[in-house]
């Protein structure tokens, strides 16, 4: 139960930080914000790696493997496409 409370605390505080920062992102950058936040939501990759590499049942390993693929697409695709878009905004500086 104590762990749950700690986790909930972290969750709620992070929500507030998120609202604080993201309202400051200008509308011009809203598309890169979405693709960039997509990339970091690929953090599920961490959980996927733990499942795909642990000594669990075969089924869990396969699910982990699929999750690693999907989350990696998110991470790599998200960061790369965001970088590509942001480069366009910077060019004229």
């Amino acid at each position: 139960m104590e762990i749950l409370v700690v986790s909930l605390t972290v969750f709620v505080l992070a929500l507030f930080i998120g609202v604080e920062i993201i309202t400051k992102v200008p509308p011009t950058l809203h598309t890169p914000l979405m693709s960039g936040s997509n990339a970091i939501s690929g953090i599920t990759l961490v959980g996927a790696i733990l499942s795909a590499g642990s000594l669990g049942p075969q089924a869990a390993t396969i699910l982990g493997f699929l999750a690693v693929i999907l989350a990696t697409i998110n991470v790599v695709g998200g960061f790369m496409v965001t970088n590509r878009m942001l480069g366009m905004f910077r060019r004229k500086d």
């Binding site: 992070a14 998120g18 936040s37 990339a39 959980g47 790696i49 699910l63 878009m85």
Partner: protein, 461 residues
């Protein structure tokens, strides 16, 4: 000790993610912000790889290689016009990953250590499965609609059907808490959520896609946070809630910009509009068509020009032609700015990316509230492929379907040029009196051809 180190590393990546998003608050710092985020991710991945729980690297490496290949291919190949589709797919993949991670964690816990299975573990697992699956299927439908493969499907009673599905999914979740060894219940939740995801997004129309994509973005974050609760991993919880917050904020911006309530968008409700004027009443004999030469003469003396881009500009890939027209006008001494409505295009900020692709500096792209007061001092407004977002009916007719929607007040400018293929209505399905206004001239052409024709005519003047 090892555990503390691992958690510290996750804290470092979460911090880098926050700093990364902070970088996105200005175009100058944004590239660096994105790189900080990527470094944070690298730290998190390395930390997971050295975790002592990981004993077999074959599947991990295979997955990383396949995923990186697909991701890199998507990121380098995608056209800027198709960014909404790309983001929709990425949302969906994130959701599916969370569903699989939660399922795998449940299987692992059952085999390795039953003590891990607490009610909170199961609640988080069920939440991850539900939200992740809805995100996946909802995003696939959104992708299909943006791509033009999937049509809007509206069935009577869909709302009741969705409510029943949600209740069934929640009931199954309770059952899973009571009997966590019955793994099939988890997959039953996934099946029910799949149907729910499909039936939620199928009825939603194209105009509401910016809202849907933002909302699914938020869901993918919430699913990741739920997976964080399953694994008691703070990196996932923090990141998931950041993304969840980001999506919700964008969703509410989009809803406000369309004057639609979130519930109406989600349940596909359009307020019926019996008071809409017929297009004959609005247009009858009052629409003035012009050719490029006449328009060039009008623009020749303009000191201040504002361009209003819409989805039509994206469709005809006119951004480069528009850029050339802007350069020509500036060479002739005119001041040129872009007026960008929050819901122009198919996702938040879509127009800005297209214009940036054509090398148009971001300081020329003005938000609605910033540029609206300046239209009275504007000589010429050029509306390219936009319709509903410049319809003055939103201000004047309280019974119109777009009544109260904030619009760009281009009708206050001295002259308005509308480049549009025909008088066909926009997503709202209503005629636009702006096209028949005394100070409006229509150039009936594809956005790209229209911009090029005006430019060539202007060069000849």
């Amino acid at each position: 000790m090892g555990n503390a180190l691992i958690n510290l590393a996750y804290l470092a990546s979460a911090t880098l993610f926050i700093l990364g998003i902070k970088g996105l608050t200005h175009p100058r710092t944004a590239v660096r912000g994105n790189q900080l985020g990527a470094i944070g991710m690298l730290i998190a991945v390395v930390t997971a790889l050295v975790d002592q729980q990981v004993v077999n690297y074959v599947w991990i490496i295979a997955g990383l290689v396949i995923g990186s290949g697909i991701g890199a291919l998507m990121a380098t190949r995608v056209q800027m016009t198709d960014m909404p589709q790309m983001v929709a797919l990425l949302n969906g993949f994130g959701g599916a990953a969370s569903t699989f991670v939660a399922g795998a964690a449940l299987l692992d816990a059952l085999q390795i250590d039953l003590a891990l299975i607490t009610p909170q573990f199961i609640v988080a697992t069920a939440a991850s499965g539900l939200v992740g699956t809805v995100t996946f299927w909802g995003s696939l439908v959104a992708f299909g609609k943006l791509q033009g493969i999937v049509k809007d499907v509206r069935l009577p009673g869909a709302q009741i059907f969705n409510a029943i599905l949600l209740v069934v999914a929640l009931a199954l979740s309770v059952w899973l808490i009571v009997d966590p060894t019955a793994v099939w219940i988890y997959w039953a939740i996934v099946v029910v959520s799949s149907i729910l995801g499909l039936s939620l997004v199928f009825p939603i129309g194209g105009a509401d896609m910016p809202v849907v994509i933002s909302l699914l973005n938020s869901y993918s974050g919430i699913a990741a946070a739920a997976a964080g609760f399953v694994l008691t991993n703070n990196a996932l919880i923090i990141t998931g809630s950041l993304v969840g917050a980001s999506g919700i904020i964008l969703t509410s911006i989009m809803c406000r910009a369309m004057n639609r309530s979130l519930t109406n968008v989600l349940f596909g409700i359009w307020v019926p509009s019996d008071a809409a004027d017929s297009s004959d009443d609005v247009y009858g004999g009052r629409v003035k068509a012009a050719n490029a030469e006449e328009l060039a003469m009008l623009m020749e003396t303009a000191r201040r020009v504002v361009i209003v881009p819409g989805y039509g500009m994206a469709v005809s890939q006119a951004q480069h032609a528009v850029r050339d027209l802007v350069n020509l006008l500036e060479e002739r001494g005119a001041e040129v700015e872009f007026a960008i409505h929050p819901v122009a295009g198919r996702m938040p900020g879509h127009m800005n990316v297209l214009l940036a692709e054509a090398d148009i500096p971001y300081d020329k792209m003005k938000e609605m509230d910033e540029i609206n007061p300046s239209f009275e001092q504007t000589d010429v407004v050029i509306v390219i492929g936009a319709n509903d977002v410049v319809n003055p009916v939103a201000r004047t007719n309280p019974s119109s379907p777009i009544a109260g929607m904030p619009i760009l007040n281009v009708d206050k400018a001295r002259s308005i040029i509308v480049i549009k293929r025909s008088l066909s209505p926009g997503f709202a399905g209503i005629p636009n009196p702006l096209f028949a206004a005394d100070n409006t001239l229509m150039l009936f052409a594809d956005a790209k051809k229209g911009a090029l024709d005006i430019m060539n005519a202007l060069k000849a003047v």
